[in-house]
Amino acid sequence: MSDPLSELIARCQRGDTMAFAKLMVETQNGVYSLAYNVLRNHEEAQDMTQEIYLRAWRALPGFRGEARFSTWLYRIAINACLNRRRQLRGQLSVVDAEDALLNLATPELDPAAEMIANQRNEALWAAVDRLPQKYQLVITLFYQQQMSYQEVAQMLSLPLGTIKAHLNRAREALARSLAAGING
């Protein structure tokens, strides 16, 4: 499998720390976004991102290139973030309840005014933040990290049908929230 980062990875596996620093630069936004979306706290996400890369550095000799590097890295990230989230459960503002899907609200939008696309987008992105965790995670992996349905399913060890169902339920909830915002 051809990976655009394969040359950097090979250098890292030979102990080249400069190559690892470059690898970090290439992937840090994706990893940090994932950490932030799970932990919902910038400080925790910052610490967790460093921890993820430390683990990746230690585990890099075992990377065989059977999957894309980003997939392998995000798997480390998800496991680490979900473990940390379990430890911090009482302290983080994390939405888990399914009824949050039904009661998702976006700010009221003035139907008389011309809708500016990026304001509407920002309202929807804010609504994603209020989705239950499992829907946020699939949205993050599928849309932000640009993974395929199959990759998301493998990453989360869930059936393909479940991933599609989660995404569709999230889309329905967001469409309902948009309607509620328009209608007031």
Binding site: Y32, A45, T49
Partner: protein, 196 residues
């Protein structure tokens, strides 16, 4: 003809897939052409899909690469300063070779040794010839010769591996395994010192 409920269930995936022009979606398209409620829903799903397609990544602190590389350097430094056993690719074959020598010494027929009075300890260490307890028909000397041969072969292979060329990745993996074992041994040693 599909109803609104069925169309409502199928629309999110249909819109996300980019409204594929497939025959299986003809009924859905026919319904959308006639139902303003479902058309409005489809339009909202389009807006949602466009928003999600442009969902931005969150950027970390610009110093995160520097901070992480410092931690990696500190970790590598700490690993090198720890008390280390001899490299595995030296002491494993060395132990195997030593064991082979011990087995060989124990297999020497007693009448080959010079007539030197033995201490009580030496008498207890020498293995007396005896039939194999498992009832094998094999001759005892042949058994010990085979065992000695296997031990020497294993030791030779270990030495060859130890002296052969290893690439950096193998050494690094072995080094990490060695570090874990060293950590465990150090912890056990500290525990033993504290408790005794």
């Amino acid at each position: 003809m599909l109803g609104c409920r069925q169309v409502g269930r199928d629309l999110p995936q249909y819109i996300a897939d980019g409204e594929p022009e497939l025959a299986c979606h003809d009924a859905l398209r026919a319904h959308l052409a006639l139902c303003p409620h479902c058309r409005a829903y489809a339009e909202r799903l389009h807006i949602v899909e466009r928003a999600l397609q442009s969902y931005p990544l969150v950027s970390p602190n610009p110093q995160i690469v520097t901070l992480t590389m410092r931690r990696i350097s500190a970790q590598e430094q700490a690993a090198q300063e720890e008390w280390r056993l001899l490299p595995w690719d030296v002491w494993v074959p060395a132990v195997a070779f030593f064991l082979a020598i011990v087995v060989a010494m124990m297999c020497l027929p007693p009448n080959l040794l010079p007539a030197v009075p033995l201490t009580d300890l030496e008498r207890t260490v020498i293995i007396e010839s005896a039939p194999i307890p498992l009832g094998l028909q094999m001759n005892t000397d042949l058994f010990w010769a085979l065992w000695l041969g296997l031990s020497v072969i294993a030791a030779g292979l270990g030495l060859s591996l130890g002296l052969s060329h290893w690439n950096a990745a193998n050494s690094k993996s072995l080094g990490r395994l060695e570090t874990h074992v060293t950590d465990a041994a150090t912890k056990l040693w500290d525990y033993a010192r504290r408790t005794h």
